[in-house]
């Protein structure tokens, strides 16, 4: 079980012949992800790690059955690649690229909503349902199957916290990187709604950071819907200065909006336990789940 990706996921890799695309295709295949085809315009007819390559998504879809795409195309060309995936009916599209302009992200996501496509990213490490499917660039060995669903705005911080959970014997149902950009395909609320319905998920970890108000809205949603599963949050950037972009395009305090303090207070008000340090997440969660 888990959300969005699993055993039934059959993926194509757009940008499969590039260094990143080819490297991660190998790692995803080794993990057991079903990669049925690759796409790189101009490289049709090649093979990468045994995966046939096509010039267009359309041709890949004519020759294979696929329901997801992971895109390794660099930012400048990523918008076209995503629109091609959406137009060809792929249901899940993971966008790894960082530095896609916000205007393009807004267009892509509007188009995806119209077609019923789920977008993960941009600027995401991807999504993993342990032992079933990895559609992303995360180090697989950190994750173990289990009951904790993770939604995060940050890559390595997710690895840090997931490794802590795994070490404490707390496996994961699905870990999903929302993406570090201001505008991304999924927000905390949408992912929590999926975790609510997912039987494998018994608890949820939210990893937020400064910028925007998605955490505040998630907190409001948790108390409004009386969210049925325990939630633990971590928010990075308690000491970040205002007006400075902290690595991620989306991680910026504008005026007084988007501070870690505001997010932490909102979570606490909604009864969500907020870990002060990454390693405390596992401890708090074990207590909530009555695991010693």
């Amino acid at each position: 079980m888990g959300i969005i990706v699993g055993k039934e996921t059959k993926a194509i890799v757009q940008g499969i012949t590039g260094t990143q695309g080819s490297f991660h295709t190998r790692l995803m295949l080794e993990y057991g992800t079903k990669i049925v085809a690759g796409v790189t315009p101009g490289k049709g007819g090649m093979e990468v790690h045994g995966v046939p390559v096509y010039d267009t998504v359309k041709e890949a879809m004519e020759n294979h059955e696929a329901n997801a795409s992971i895109i390794f195309v660099p930012a400048r060309f990523a918008t076209e690649a995503v629109l091609e995936a959406i137009e060809n009916g792929l249901k899940t599209v993971v966008i790894i690229a960082e530095h896609i302009p916000v205007k393009d992200a807004i267009q892509i996501i509007a188009r995806a909503r119209e077609k019923g496509t789920t977008i993960i990213g941009p600027n995401t490490p991807g999504i993993i349902t342990p032992n079933e499917c990895k559609l992303g660039i995360m180090p697989a060995h950190i994750f173990k199957p289990g009951v904790v669903g993770i939604a995060s705005r940050s890559g390595t911080l997710t690895y840090e916290i997931a490794a802590g959970l795994t070490n404490a014997g707390l496996g994961q149902s699905t870990c999903l990187g929302l993406g570090g950009d201001p505008v991304v395909g999924l927000n905390f609320i949408e992912v929590m709604e999926m975790f609510r319905k997912d039987e494998a998920t018994k608890a949820v970890v939210l990893i937020g950071e400064i910028g925007g108000n998605l955490e505040e809205l998630a907190a409001e949603y948790i108390s409004r819907t009386n969210y049925p599963k325990p939630v633990v949050a971590f928010v990075a950037g308690r000491t970040a200065p205002p007006g400075k972009r902290m690595g991620h395009a989306g991680a910026i305090i504008m005026g007084r909006a988007g501070t870690a303090q505001s997010k932490i207070e909102a979570f606490q008000k909604a009864g969500v336990a907020v870990a002060e340090k990454p390693r405390e997440v596992a401890k708090i969660l074990a207590e909530k789940l009555n695991i010693k």
Binding site: P101, S154, T158, E160, R279
Partner: protein, 379 residues
């Protein structure tokens, strides 16, 4: 990237939005010439990229060219919130009947642009939201449709205008929206948008922040970014090397991989009573070159007494990172104590490489942060 007021106004003017007549001056003499050309009461405005410029004394008034010269001289020799004033914008003073607000920005939650208007202009938008939320009109823009003329009319009407004035105001809104889209605005606003005593609408102040990720579509501004503006020279140098660096005011230099992890590292240092000297994200694939470049930048800050490196090797292999650190050490030499936290793929080998070279490596990010603060107190 933040644009100066005069740049934003020039863009608005190009799109047909009325702005006060004015010119840019970099010397008091120039200011006096511009004022005599304008031949009316003037406003002298410091061109600095900080919010709250007016309250900080960055906006002065002059009745004649001599006064304009004196006021310009005063501003050009001053700092506004720590930023040196390099130029002033001199424009005609408007006869104000009412101050409005209109802007377009990104709504992260809706994943759309949103148009915002208010009859309580002059204050910053957050202040309006806090003090007079009932005076805030928000219109989410459907990305597949855009901000149409009738949407603009609807907003102008809601502000209480009728007939020809309503249409004029709506047209101003549409023009700002077009400029905002063409320039990849993260935020573009007219605040205040002045209704003059004779019933016209003029953008008395303007702000434009271009999405950094879209700067490749705006090469003129990209080139200007390096010259002057909101970033320290080290921050621009780091950006060119693909590193994300933000200078802070403490004394513990920080290097890590991944924006969230580095932010959490700063927080941990603070919680143990230390003060980070910077934020630095080396990004993925921390090769020797990148580590060396990162160390170079961090150590260029004379306040740095201790360096804390927090690397979580995922796809990046720890042995590779360890070799990178050694290579960087040989290349640039470390004179400052260094705390390294290194875990992940091939961590045993990575730790062995560093330990044999006499560099102490730790496992836990929290313990390592604590250690870094302790070492600082010993130096």
């Amino acid at each position: 990237m933040k644009l100066f007021e005069y740049e934003a106004k020039n863009i608005l003017s190009k799109y047909g939005v009325p702005v006060p007549r004015g010119e840019l001056a970099t010397s008091p003499e120039q200011a006096s010439e511009i004022a005599s050309k304008l031949n009316v009461s003037c406003v002298i405005k410091a061109q600095v990229l900080v919010a709250g410029r007016g309250k900080a004394g960055g906006i002065l008034f002059a009745e004649n060219p001599q006064e304009a010269k004196e006021k310009a001289e005063k501003l050009l020799n001053s700092e506004i919130k720590g930023i040196k004033v390099r130029s002033v914008w001199i424009e005609e003073k408007l006869s104000i009947k009412k101050e409005l607000y209109f802007g377009v920005t990104v709504d992260r939650f809706q994943r759309t642009y949103v148009a915002i208007a208010s009859s309580a202009g002059g204050m910053d938008i957050e202040e309006i939201a806090a003090k007079a939320p009932e005076k805030l009109i928000k219109f989410p823009i459907n990305p597949l449709e855009g901000f149409r003329t009738y949407h603009a009319t609807y907003m102008a009407k809601k502000l209480g205008y009728k007939g020809k004035q309503m249409l004029q105001l709506a047209s101003t809104f549409s023009k700002l929206y077009r400029a905002a889209m063409d320039y990849d605005a993260e935020l573009m606003e007219m605040n205040p948008l002045v209704e003059t005593v004779d019933g016209r609408f003029v953008a008395a102040d303007a702000r434009l922040i271009i999405d950094d990720n879209a700067l490749f579509r705006h090469p003129d501004y990209k080139a200007r970014l390096a010259e002057e503006g909101e970033f320290a020279p080290e921050e621009i140098e780091a950006r060119e090397k693909g590193l994300a660096y933000v200078k802070l005011d403490g004394n513990i230099g920080i290097i890590g991989n991944g924006a969230g992890l580095v932010m959490a590292t700063l927080d941990a240092i603070n919680s143990y009573g230390g003060k980070p000297a910077n934020f630095l994200d080396v990004g993925g694939g921390a090769s020797a070159d990148r580590i060396a470049a990162a160390l170079d930048i961090v150590l260029s800050n004379p306040n740095v007494k201790v360096v804390f490196m927090n690397i979580l090797g995922g796809i990046t292999r720890c042995d590779e990172v360890a070799r990178g650190i050694l290579e960087a050490k040989n290349r640039i030499g470390f004179t400052k104590p260094m705390i390294i936290r290194l875990v992940g793929t091939n961590e045993e080998e990575g730790r062995k490489i560093l330990t044999e070279a006499g560099i102490y490596v730790m496992n836990s990010m929290e313990e390592a942060a604590k250690k870094a603060v302790e070492v600082l107190h010993q130096t």
